[in-house]
Amino acid sequence: AQSVTQLDSQVPVFEEAPVELRCNYSSSVSVYLFWYVQYPNQGLQLLLKYLSGSTLVKGINGFEAEFNKSQTSFHLRKPSVHISDTAEYFCAVKKGYGQNFVFGPGTRLSVLP
């Protein structure tokens, strides 16, 4: 079965510092990859997606992610975080031919002043 790993459950970082949130998935077939952000008591908002093409994907709010097929990873990065980036971040995978999206357990990013 498809699985998604987010090794870091919590990531504290100071404002204006860079951050990387890690995501690894298990699949030997073609997949689509996504990062979502969730603010308290809200639904999930799409940050970025990889469907095909360039392995470096740019999203909203200055985030970007790089698809690495050999390492089955899709890590999320931002060069300089803001207080407003404090939220829960979820990595998700969907098989190219399937209907199901599988989510990782989430990483709570806390940006400190």
Binding site: N41, G43, L44, F90, G96, Q99, V102, G106
Partner: protein, 111 residues
Amino acid sequence: SQTIHQWPATLVQPVGSPLSLECTVEGTSNPNLYWYRQAAGRGLQLLFYSVGIGQISSEVPQNLSASRPQDRQFILSSKKLLLSDSGFYLCAWSRVNSPLHFGNGTRLTVT
């Protein structure tokens, strides 16, 4: 543009009472529809998904059921709520080769 509506935003129900959460999508036709549950401090658990009217796939056997009476309407129900049904319920839609788009969620507290 497409929008997804989910209501109510919060709900407090006693154990043993019925449940009905509704979700509607506007601006698209024949979407795939999903119900997820998010327990406190945990990730998302897929409960049901539907690829068409009357077509429901259940991912986890439990005290809940889902129905899709119309193309863009997805309903989550229970005949008798349990304490363990408490959580944050999220409806979402997608099309082929597109991301999931989520509603704002319903916070359900079973007392």
